[in-house]
């Protein structure tokens, strides 16, 4: 790219293309009926997508009402008794709430600290590779784990880390010596293993979006910087990083909405009697009380609480991003 002699069109700075928002809003409102008619075929094309969201995302929200009822399936949605905030009260004052919240948030924190930056780092490293064959093959190889199901990842973890026959466990034991550690069962190793699994499975996939952002950086900028005497590190700091910053911010906002999602399958598959105290999170709790126990109302209340926290976090981090001078998501 650096030797590319054809000058590319310089991209206009993003901000200059934005008209004053207030003026645009009023004009848009006045012209809405006319625009609707004028672009009617485009709007018609939009319709199936809209219908999809209404039918599969918004209408089912009616079911959330059972969070405020004592739902008995035999009596149905309308026949079940309203109980107000009883289930929420039970959740917040129950013996599990503190532990669930702590476990969920700690896992989220570990994810943000270790898992979120990993694709950025890998993408930046890949970007520095100049041998294209190597770059592409590494890229493809790190994607692969993304396509494996969590069941397979969990089984692999058991195979590699089992205290009885685990290859890695035995290998570490051979180096460190002492007593054998039961990585898959012990509570202390639960979170490290979860983070390791996430890193292994998701890092490669996450690099795609950053690599795309990096590919869009104008090579003239690097050339100019080099002429000015900037080294590799300077180029990285002043060109590469600012170029992918908007992508990082958008990804961060999107991630924040999933802070309360710990990934049910992964956690559930890795839970044992010995690590349940640290493994229980809202996602598995909803499964236990909803599907296993049949307390549908209570489970819905927990899910709704999770959803509300997610929405608050998305809006919050979007606002924060704007405050910090970035372009938020919306």
């Amino acid at each position: 790219m650096a030797t590319d002699l054809v000058p590319e069109v310089v991209q206009p700075a993003a901000d200059s293309s934005r008209p004053a928002p207030a003026a645009k809003r009023t004009r848009r409102a006045r012209n809405l009926p006319r625009d609707l008619f004028r672009y009617r075929w485009l709007y018609l094309l939009l319709l199936p997508g809209l219908v999809y969201f209404v039918v599969f995302k918004y209408l089912p929200m009616y079911g959330l009402t059972i969070a405020f009822k004592d739902y008995v399936p035999f009596l149905g949605y309308s026949g079940s008794e309203w109980v107000g905030l009883k289930h929420f009260q039970e959740l917040f004052t129950g013996p599990d709430f503190g532990r669930l919240l702590f476990n969920t948030l700690l896992l989220a924190l570990l994810t943000i600290v270790f898992v979120f930056p990993a694709p950025i780092v890998v993408a930046l490293l890949l970007n520095e590779l100049r041998v294209n064959v190597l770059k592409r093959s590494v890229q493809s190889l790190v994607y692969i784990p993304h396509f494996l199901s969590w069941t397979i990842v969990a089984s692999l973890t058991y195979l590699l880390f089992s205290v009885d026959f685990g290859v890695i466990a035995n290998w570490i034991h051979g180096i460190v010596g002492g007593q054998k550690t039961d990585y898959v069962a012990q509570a202390d190793w639960f979170r490290p293993l979860i983070v390791l699994q996430l890193l292994w499975k998701q890092t490669g996939w996450g690099t795609i979006i950053y690599l795309a952002a990096l590919a869009g950086v104008d090579s003239q900028l690097y050339e100019a910087a080099r002429v000015d005497g900037a080294g590799r590190w300077r180029q990285f700091w002043h060109i590469t990083l600012p170029a992918i910053r908007p992508t990082i911010v958008v990804m961060a906002i999107l991630t924040s909405g999933h802070l309360m999602d710990s990934g049910f399958e992964q956690i559930w598959l890795m839970t044992t009697s010995l690590n349940r105290d640290v493994a229980d999170v809202f996602d598995t709790f909803v499964y236990y009380i909803g599907i296993t126990q049949g307390s549908f109302s209570y489970a819905t209340a927990v899910g709704l609480f999770k959803g509300v926290v997610g929405v608050v976090l998305i809006f919050g981090s979007n606002l924060l991003a704007k405050r910090l001078g970035q372009r938020g998501l919306f």
């Binding site: 075929w41 094309l45 219908v51 399936p73 013996p95 058991y158 044992t272 010995l274 126990q293 049949g294």
Partner: protein, 515 residues
């Protein structure tokens, strides 16, 4: 653009929207009682591939009962989850094989979603309970919500490597002390003779059930004199884990873990792979149901058809108090409940019960457990002998029987009722015969759970959070992660999180049910 004219696109888009909208309004239609009367919908567990609804066996069954059969076969591994989801839907089948003690079923039944069959079954000769104890076990707070699917009343036993015992000059165990001696020898005296200390005594898997669910731990606790689930102490019913015998049994087992007599991954070994360490010669004992012995025998045979008689089965053991306490089973596995969704009146219920009565008759039981006589099996004395198994059509019948239809039987099951399968070899025949001998011997000392039919409302409401406390604490204690004091603290936590209410309710309900 000529083919996809604008108008056409518009029509297509609107159609899509309408289709999507109508799809969501569906599902509310009701079949009504009348239309359903010549058809029986059933939900039952499946252990392989689902039978063809037009298959030979299904047609034979339909001919026998005189009704069209519509079975939803659900893989056994997800049966519990799927039944809970089904109970939450408006598509409950007429007849549902269900765990009558699961909270969601109890809730649904108490809300009136299922027929109370108490006292109604005696009219039907093939549905009438044949065993008092089992009938009582399958009740829920004094009410019969379903027809129990019979199983042997006692299946607990210890499977031991016969050749290892012989090599080390040991006898089959009679007491828990003997068992310890054997485990110690298996772990330390190199029973496989490879010169390495790479074996252990007992193999325990990650147990999927909770407390009092026939786990190896539950069985050992019973040997030590602890109650089976619930027991009477000082005139009151107490949970089995709140007894000194429970603590003693687990202290003993904890010693095993510490001394390396148990597989080190006992907290995580998948129960589906339970046989592996045994067959691979890593461990020499399994405490489980007796049929595991024949399973293991078959696996050894697969490995080496010339030298496979390496398994022996031993019954329950005498505890440290010199007494024998045996761990019985409930005598059944899930019940067939009848939903009120389509079966609305007593007359309709009578019809369904009559149909089921035909299904569970002698001929029906043979169809469900053995198949079609002269087609996939022939009778030889007390045994069924497989026929024409190379014919794919016959193979399909056999598969439908073994993996699916046998689950619809309430009176016949593996080794009960109908014809038993003729064993392949002398060793399995001897083993099979041992089952009954050991069962009848151990039933004399069986410790039954007096509160089995009692479901405390608090357990229904809070069960999920309470249920894991004890089994988790037990595993932690056994692995050495917590001390005995901490184990006791966990038992106290059980009481504090709702257990106190459960104990009170169980005692009250049990007094009301008349013991």
């Amino acid at each position: 653009m000529t083919i996809f004219s604008r108008r056409r696109i518009a029509v297509a888009a609107v159609t899509t929207a309408l289709l999507a909208a109508s799809a969501c309004s569906g599902g509310g239609d009701d079949k009504g009682g009348e239309a359903a009367s010549n058809e029986l919908t059933v939900m039952a567990p499946l252990f392989g591939t689902a039978p063809d609804p037009n298959g030979e066996l299904q047609q034979a069954v339909e001919k026998l009962i005189g009704k069209k059969l519509k079975v939803t076969w659900v893989p056994n591994a997800e049966y519990g989850d799927k039944s809970n989801v089904t109970l939450a839907s408006d598509k409950i089948p007429d007849v549902m094989v269900v765990n009558e003690k699961s909270p969601s079923f109890v809730k649904a039944a108490e809300a009136g979603a299922f027929w109370d069959l108490t006292g109604k079954l005696d009219k039907y000769p093939n549905l009438k309970p044949s065993n008092e104890q089992t009938a009582k076990n399958s009740q829920t707070n004094g009410k019969t919500y379903g027809i129990y699917r019979v199983r042997p009343l006692l299946r607990s036993g210890i499977v031991i490597r016969k050749d290892w015992l012989a090599k080390l000059g040991l006898k089959e165990p009679q007491t828990t002390n003997d068992l310890y001696t054997i485990a110690k020898a298996f772990a330390e005296k190199d029973p496989d003779g490879n010169g390495k200390k790479d074996t252990y005594g007992l193999i325990i898997p990650k147990w999927p059930g909770n407390y009092a669910s026939a786990s190896p731990y539950d069985v050992v606790e019973t040997w030590f004199g602890a109650p089976n689930g619930w027991g009477e102490r000082d005139g009151k019913l107490v949970p089995g884990f709140d007894t000194p015998e429970f603590l003693k049994a687990n202290e003993w087992l904890r010693g095993w873990v510490k001394e390396g007599l148990v597989n080190p991954d006992f907290a995580t070994l998948d129960s589906a792979n339970w046989n592996d360490p045994f067959v691979q010669g890593k461990g020499g004992m399994i405490i489980d149901v007796n049929v595991r012995a024949t399973q293991l025998l078959d696996l050894f045979k697969e490995k080496n058809p010339k030298d496979f008689d390496k398994v022996t089965l031993v019954g329950n053991l005498k505890g440290p108090d010199g007494e024998k306490h045996s761990y019985p089973f409930t005598g059944y596995n899930m019940v067939m409940a009848i939903s009120k969704q389509h079966v609305r009146t007593e007359d309709q219920l009578d019809q369904v019960l009559q149909t089921l009565d035909k299904l569970e008759s002698k001929d029906g039981s043979i169809l469900l457990t053995n198949g079609i006589e002269g087609r996939n099996f022939k009778v030889d004395g007390q045994y069924a002998v497989p026929l024409n198994q190379d014919d794919p059509k016959v193979k399909a019948i056999q598969n439908d029987v073994d993996k699916a239809f046998i689950q619809l039987g309430t009176r016949a099951s593996v080794g009960l009722g109908a014809y038993a399968l003729r064993p392949n070899d002398e060793a399995s025949r001897a083993m099979r015969e041992k089952f009954d001998v050991l069962m009848n011997e151990d039933l004399k000392t069986a410790v039954f759970n007096p509160a089995l039919s009692i479901i405390a409302p608090t357990a229904v409401a809070k069960g999920q959070t309470l249920d894991t406390i004890i089994p988790d604490a037990r595993i932690k204690y056994l692995s050495g992660a917590i001390t005995e004091e901490q184990l006791k603290a966990q038992i106290k936590r059980w009481y504090d999180s709702g257990g106190t209410d459960i104990v009170k309710e169980v005692n009250d309900l049990s007094a009301k049910a008349g013991g």
